[in-house]
Each structure stands twice: as structure tokens, then as C-alpha cells.
């Protein structure tokens, strides 16, 4: 399936924080990562926290080195994620198309 790149920006980890320092990356470029798996440990003026991965995919680029300060909203990491096409809207699911629909009933042509 086709992949597309998605960049995750540093969220505000407290209320009104403006930046965070990267302490330690838990992944390297090329790694596959599950959603919610540990991604990176950062330190803000309030605390040190491990950010879980928001995506499942392959790590394409780390936008900050360790000890580097990243502004809230600046790119943190880029993932290559499987492009899911077509996508449903907010509600419901795209129905799967059966190549050959299942059947149990057989027909007999009419005699007339």
C-alpha cells in the first residue's frame, strides 16, 4: 500500500508551555513504531515526559537532536504511514467491496 509522510509537531505538554528540550529519542530513523509506543522523552519547565507515538508507521526524520530546544508547534518527527484510501468522513466506514460475493442459493431457469 502507498505510504504518505505525516509530520508531528511538538504539542503544548502543559498549559501554556512554549518549548521543550529533547532528552532522549526512543526511536531512530528507519524504525517502525506502533501507535502509543514511547517516542521521545522531553523536558519542559514543568516536568520530563515521554511522548507516545501518535501514529503507526516508519520514522523518516527526527527534526531535533538530543539536548536541542524545540518550540511548541515546530516539527518534531516525520512518519511514513500507510495511506488509507479512500477515507470515510467523520462517521462510518468505507464498505469493503467483495471481489466475488458469497452465495448459497442456486437458481433453476424457468421452463416457460
Amino acid at each position: 500500500m502507498a505510504e504518505e509522510n505525516v509530520t508531528f509537531t511538538l504539542p503544548d505538554l502543559g498549559e501554556g508551555l512554549v518549548e521543550a528540550t529533547v532528552l532522549e529519542w526512543q526511536v531512530a530513523v528507519g524504525d517502525r513504531i506502533e501507535r502509543n509506543a514511547p517516542l521521545v522523552e522531553v523536558e519542559t519547565t514543568k516536568s520530563a515526559v515521554v511522548i507516545p507515538s501518535p501514529k503507526e508507521g516508519r520514522v523518516v526524520e527526527l527534526h531535533a537532536a538530543e539536548d536541542e530546544v524545540v518550540a511548541v508547534g515546530a516539527p518534531l518527527v516525520t512518519f511514513a504511514v500507510e495511506a488509507r484510501e479512500p477515507q470515510a468522513g467523520i462517521v462510518g466506514r468505507v464498505p469493503a467491496e467483495e471481489a466475488r460475493p458469497a452465495r448459497r442459493v442456486r437458481l433453476k431457469p424457468p421452463t416457460d
Partner: protein, 339 residues
């Protein structure tokens, strides 16, 4: 905009483009907004977001927030506003976000939209096209999979359309919006993502005509919306057994194409109606009655109905059991063949 009206001058043939149904509807709305400055598109999240299913994507950007705009989450207000706008010379194309939420607006639709022309002896026609994402098949939560066609078809003063593919969706919407009568335009959600090369044609058949999607001689399957696609699958399977099924897409549920129905069934002598709505007092009963009235002497078997069940529309995991399955349709076909 130019791409929409571009034509090969030599052949005057409209272009073939690969589109999903949601994109085809979007194209039709762009044509309609461009050709008539009185046309307005509004509803919940149709503006900035571009609609829950991206059907109205980009329209606000192109035509501005005076002509494509979001409304509060209030279905009765959306339809009430459409009535007022229509009375003042506008051509509203409101969207109600999901069939099951049309009920709060049924008072406006049935008592205002449908009656105003009659009530004013023609002084206040209601050129309103209500876009209603309809029917099931996408495993959505409660109130997101209802089939209300019988309710609206039963209401004097309303026209009801239900397209079955992208090309049909395009031309039926042009026809609906250009009509000075109110039309309930029911979009089959399950087919929104159905993508294929389509020719974006101006409507040529008059309002109230059906179309034969597949020719056959042993029985006619009559359907509308997403069930047309399912009936085509059934016809393919039946062909393996040597049974040739005709598939008739009703597409206009009010007025119903009685002549078209009768012509097909008189030829095949057998009819099976397939719809998602519950059986009792569903539109299938109307179709069966029309066929019986018009083809009584030609019929080899009573008209069969394959429908949803007389229960509230079920939650997602039970949908495959509720909707007419391929086997249920095949079984009904077999029953008609055995008479």
C-alpha cells in the same frame, strides 16, 4: 470553473473523468452555484469543513461564505430557513446531516416545503433541493442508516430522487436543483466512495423516468440507491445459473416511472423489488401494487419483496444481516421462477 464547462467543440461530448460519487455531487454543486447566483448551499459543517463526507469540499472557498455556509445544529431551522429563502427568490440546496436526523425537520418539510406551492396557488413555489445522505451500509452509529423514502414519497408536493452511481448522482442533482419543485435528494452513503470513469452528462431523461441498468428476460429486479449495485451483483451470479435478470434503477421514487416499470415487467413476467427500508408500508409495496395494476395479465408470479426488517435500523455489526443479502435476493428470484 472553466474545466466544468469545457467541451470538445468537434464532438460536443462531455469529458470522461474518474470520479467517486461524492466528487460527482461536488462537481454538480459547482456547476449549479456557478450558473445561478440565487443558488445557496448550507447545512451543518458544509462550509469550512467541506461536509462530513467531503461532498461540499472547496465550495465555500470558491463561492464565498455568503453562498456556502454552515448552520447551527438544528435541522428544523435549516429547513425553515430554506422555506423563507425560497419565498424570497433564492434557490436553496440545504443538507441535513444524516437521514435519521431529518425527523426533527419533518414538520418543515411536510407542512411547509411540500405545501407552500399548493397553499399559495403557485405564488410561492419551493425550488428547494434537500440533500440527504441516506440509507445504510457504512456501519455508522444509530440514526445514521435510515431509509426515509416512503415517508417523503407519501407526502404530496415533494419529489424524491435516489441516484445509484456517480454519473446518475451528477445529472439527477442538476435536474433536482433546476426544478422549481422541492426535491428530496437521497444520496446512498455506501456508494459515496465508488470510483469509476464517468461521463458528466447534462440530464436528458425527464424527471420521473427510470433506467434499465442491465437487460435480462427471466425477471426484473427493481431497486434504487445502493441496492442497485447489489442487484447487479445478483444478476451476475444468476447469469452463472443461466438465469438472465433485468435490473431496473427506479432513481425517481416520486414520481414513479409506472410506464417504465410496466414495460420491463411485461417483458420479463416476473418482478422482485429490493430495498433497505423495513417491509411494512415500504416503497416496495407501492411498486408491487403498480406492477400488479399494470401487468396483471403478463405476470407469471406475484411480485416479491426483499427488504430490511420491521425493526429499528440496527447497529453496525448487524447491518449485513439487516440489509437484503445476495442470498435473500437470489432466494426471492428462485421463488418467482417456480410459480
Amino acid at each position: 470553473m472553466t474545466e466544468l464547462i469545457e467541451r470538445d467543440e468537434a464532438t460536443a461530448e462531455p469529458p470522461t473523468v474518474e470520479l467517486s460519487m461524492q466528487q460527482a455531487i461536488n462537481r454538480a454543486l459547482r456547476v449549479l452555484l456557478a450558473e445561478d447566483p440565487a443558488t445557496l448551499v448550507f447545512g451543518e459543517d458544509v462550509g469550512a469543513l467541506g461536509g462530513v463526507f467531503r461532498v461540499t469540499d472547496g465550495l465555500q472557498k470558491e463561492f464565498g461564505d455568503q453562498r456556502v455556509f454552515d448552520t447551527p445544529l438544528a435541522e428544523s431551522a435549516i429547513m425553515g430557513m430554506a422555506v423563507g429563502l425560497a419565498m424570497n427568490g433564492w434557490r436553496p440546496v440545504p443538507e441535513l446531516q444524516f437521514d435519521g436526523f431529518a425527523y426533527p425537520a419533518v414538520d418543515q418539510i411536510v407542512n411547509q416545503v411540500a405545501r407552500m406551492n399548493y397553499r399559495t396557488r403557485g405564488a410561492a413555489p419551493m425550488p428547494i433541493t434537500l440533500r440527504l445522505p441516506s440509507f445504510g451500509g457504512i456501519q455508522a452509529p444509530e440514526h445514521h442508516g435510515e431509509s426515509l423514502e416512503a415517508l417523503f414519497a407519501h407526502t404530496p408536493g415533494l419529489k424524491v430522487a435516489a441516484p445509484s452511481d456517480a454519473a446518475e448522482a451528477y445529472s439527477l442533482l442538476l435536474q433536482s436543483v433546476r426544478s422549481d419543485d422541492p426535491v428530496v435528494y437521497m444520496e446512498p452513503k455506501a456508494r459515496y466512495w465508488d470510483r469509476k470513469p464517468v461521463v458528466l452528462r447534462e440530464p436528458t431523461d425527464p424527471i420521473g423516468t427510470s433506467r434499465i441498468v442491465r437487460h435480462g428476460r427471466h425477471a426484473t429486479l427493481i431497486a434504487w440507491g445502493a441496492m442497485v449495485h447489489r442487484c447487479l451483483k445478483v444478476a451476475e451470479l444468476a447469469a452463472e445459473d443461466g438465469v438472465e435478470l433485468e435490473v431496473l434503477d427506479l432513481r425517481w421514487l416520486k414520481p414513479i416511472d409506472t410506464a417504465g416499470l410496466a414495460a420491463s415487467v411485461s417483458r420479463t413476467k416476473r418482478a422482485v423489488v429490493v430495498h433497505e427500508a423495513p417491509l411494512t408500508a415500504g416503497l416496495g409495496a407501492e411498486v408491487a401494487a403498480l406492477v400488479t395494476e399494470n401487468c396483471f395479465r403478463d405476470l407469471s408470479a406475484p411480485v416479491q419483496r426483499v427488504t430490511g426488517f420491521d425493526v429499528p435500523y440496527p447497529a453496525g455489526p448487524l447491518e449485513p444481516q439487516y440489509l437484503p443479502t445476495i442470498d435473500r435476493v437470489l432466494f426471492a428470484v428462485q421463488r418467482t421462477l417456480e410459480y
